[in-house]
């Protein structure tokens, strides 16, 4: 069960009560506005109590909230999204959506890791966990973006690349590795949006870029808290502990210089005002794309190289490079 959904319940009850009173207010002669105001104050207080001080583990659940905007919510908010399918080799992987669209009139290619909204859709989307063919479809789109010199926009939201038999047989490692090599040298601007879950290498496969934007309550980690707890302590139930230690929040990752820009969410999370959050993300994308498109391509690639080149924490450095 999602802990945020549990926490939210009293708030949702209160809000539905307020809605009821508002309807009464409109249809009946009696004036409930005083009561409504009182309840609204209480609701705001409750919201602040619930969401004002979330633990990292609670924030992981916020990023998994069933009503959180998904990759396609952002992508379809672009103008004229047209989906392109398939890796030309094995299968079309619905866990990665790909295509092209316009960002405020600018032609862009888009990639997104896509979960489902319900069980049926989640089975179809494999809960947003791509297979190698998904990363190979992504490579096809990356190459198109480079060939036609259009910026690439990616939307990251995956628990991780799928760990299954077929995925291993068809080279999950190779598929992600090839994405990374391709993105590192791609001669066109890449803007990355981490909007939900940033699960390890499966996220990074479409998240190496020039400008990395992260939604406030998204998480991005070397491993999911459950996987990390399992790897470190052979005990997946210690995920809350792992979530705290992994430094997977947008604030911490900003401090590390791994995230370039954090887009704020309304109190309670993105699903409390989906349209506003989408608008904020796309605004940030637009600013980033415009800025990056002004750079000569060689400089763009050099800057991208330096951006990743300097990430590390080591104490004795060759060539006099400064340590973190």
């Amino acid at each position: 069960m999602n802990v945020i959904v549990e926490l939210e319940k009293p708030l949702l009850e209160l809000e539905s009560k307020i809605e009821g009173l508002k309807r009464l207010n409109e249809t009946q002669r009696v004036d409930f506005s005083v009561e409504i105001r009182a309840l609204e104050a209480k609701a705001n207080q409750l919201k602040a109590e619930i969401f004002g001080n979330l633990t990292p583990w609670q924030r992981v659940h916020l990023a998994r909230h069933p009503r959180r905007p998904l990759a396609l919510d952002y992508i379809t908010a672009l103008d004229g999204f047209t989906e392109l399918h398939g890796d030309r080799t094995f299968r079309d992987d619905p866990a990665i959506v790909a295509g092209f669209a316009y960002l405020s009139g600018m032609p862009v290619y888009v990639l997104g890791e896509q979960k489902g909204r319900d069980t049926k859709e989640n089975l179809y989307r494999n809960f947003g966990m791509p297979h190698p063919e998904g990363y190979r479809k992504a490579q096809r789109i990356m190459k198109l973006a480079e060939k036609f010199r259009r910026p690439l926009l990616t939307f990251v939201d995956t628990p991780g690349a799928y760990p299954g038999i077929g995925a291993e047989e068809r080279g999950q490692s190779q598929a992600i590795a090839a994405c990374l090599q391709l993105l590192a040298g791609l001669r066109t601007p890449i803007v990355v949006n981490v909007t939900g879950e940033g699960g390890s290498g499966g996220a990074l496969g479409i998240a190496l870029g020039d400008h990395i934007i992260m939604l406030q309550h998204a998480w991005y980690s070397v491993a999911s808290p459950e996987a990390a707890a399992s790897i470190l302590w052979s005990d997946a139930t210690k995920a809350d502990e792992a979530a705290k230690r992994l430094r997977l929040t947008s604030e911490e990752l900003s401090e590390f210089g791994i995230i370039d820009e954090v887009v704020a969410e309304p109190l309670g999370g993105a699903h409390h005002d989906t349209q506003d959050v989408i608008r904020r993300i796309l605004d940030a994308d637009k600013r980033a794309v415009r800025r990056l498109m002004r750079l000569p391509t060689d400089e763009l690639i050099d800057r991208r190289y330096e951006k990743y080149r300097k990430i590390g924490a080591h104490t004795e450095l060759l060539h006099g490079r400064a340590a973190r």
């Binding site: 299954g164 490692s173 992600i176 590192a184 990752l253 991208r304 990430i311």
Partner: protein
């Protein structure tokens, strides 16, 4: 046992013996093996052919012709997350340094393999399970960059459980950093060769491990993206025979060849000679 090469004697540090026992048990066939014989046997079980996991130092002895000039040898990891669980990350890595005789999970340097000058990186599973943190990422990157400057082939022998948890996203970003180094190196038209040994998984297999021009798997190694336990827990069904073995990967088109430990040096030599040969040197 072969005499200790100069570079190794110069290096001084040697791993502590894991135990004082005179015998090792082959984990594959349970054969009792006299420890002193194992080095002569290249740490291969004479009964079943099982490759024992070996240290980076031993691997370099197996591959390098003579001298190995180590670089970036003093690089030591920081503690970007200020990590503590049962013990602190700082304590863990200090223990690994003592136990393994290494500063980190990889040694990098320059040497000749079967007569061909190369940059060589060798990972060591004994240090934090060969996981990639800042130092592994940095040393691989420095090695590849330096090979680019010297126009030498780069060879990395992988042995890794993936990205290092205790360095969190700083560790994951080493996948991006090393990939960027490989991408630049590839644009220079220089050859990059990896040898995947037991085990090569996660962040290392999903970055430079599988980005090479030629990928050689040592026989019987476990190679994959996800660990077996994770897969078991996710799909809860029987895994195919030999799943994630070198031979399985060859059949599935993921590696160029599977090579026994004894053949590794001559095979690398053959590949390197071909890839390193200058067209100009060819008779017209």
């Amino acid at each position: 046992m072969a005499p200790t090469p100069n570079w190794l004697r110069r290096r001084g540090a040697r791993p502590e013996a894991a135990s004082d026992a005179l015998w090792d048990i082959c984990p594959h066939c349970n054969e009792r093996l006299y420890k002193k014989d194992l080095a002569e046997l290249l740490w291969v079980c004479p009964k079943c052919g099982h490759n024992f996991r070996i240290s980076a130092l031993d691997r370099i002895s197996l591959l390098a012709d003579g001298d190995f000039r180590e670089v970036a040898e003093d690089l030591m990891t920081g503690d970007p997350l200020q990590w503590t669980d049962r013990v602190s990350y700082v304590t863990k890595t200090a223990g690994d340094r003592t136990k393994s005789g290494l500063m980190e999970a990889i040694l990098t340097g320059f040497c000749a393999i079967d007569g061909v000058a190369v940059g060589l990186g060798v990972m060591d599973f004994a240090f934090r399970g060969g996981t990639m943190g800042s130092v592994v990422g940095e040393k691989v990157t420095l090695l590849i960059e330096e090979c680019g400057r010297r126009r030498l082939p780069a060879v990395v022998v992988c042995a890794s459980g993936g990205a290092r948890m205790e360095e969190g996203m700083v560790a994951l970003m080493q996948m991006a950093k090393t990939s960027a180094a490989v991408a630049r190196f590839a644009e220079l038209g220089l050859p990059f060769i990896t040898v995947l040994t037991d085990p090569t998984t996660g962040g290392v297999s999903a970055s430079y491990g599988f980005q090479a021009d030629v990928i050689i798997a040592e026989s019987g190694a476990a190679i994959g993206f996800a660990g077996r336990r994770v897969i078991d827990q996710t799909i809860r069904q029987k895994l195919p025979d030999g799943f994630q073995s070198s031979e399985f990967l060859l059949e599935h088109g993921q590696v160029d060849m599977v090579v026994r430990r004894a053949d590794l040096k001559p095979t690398l030599g053959r590949v390197l000679r071909f890839f390193a040969a200058r067209l100009a040197a060819v008779p017209a």
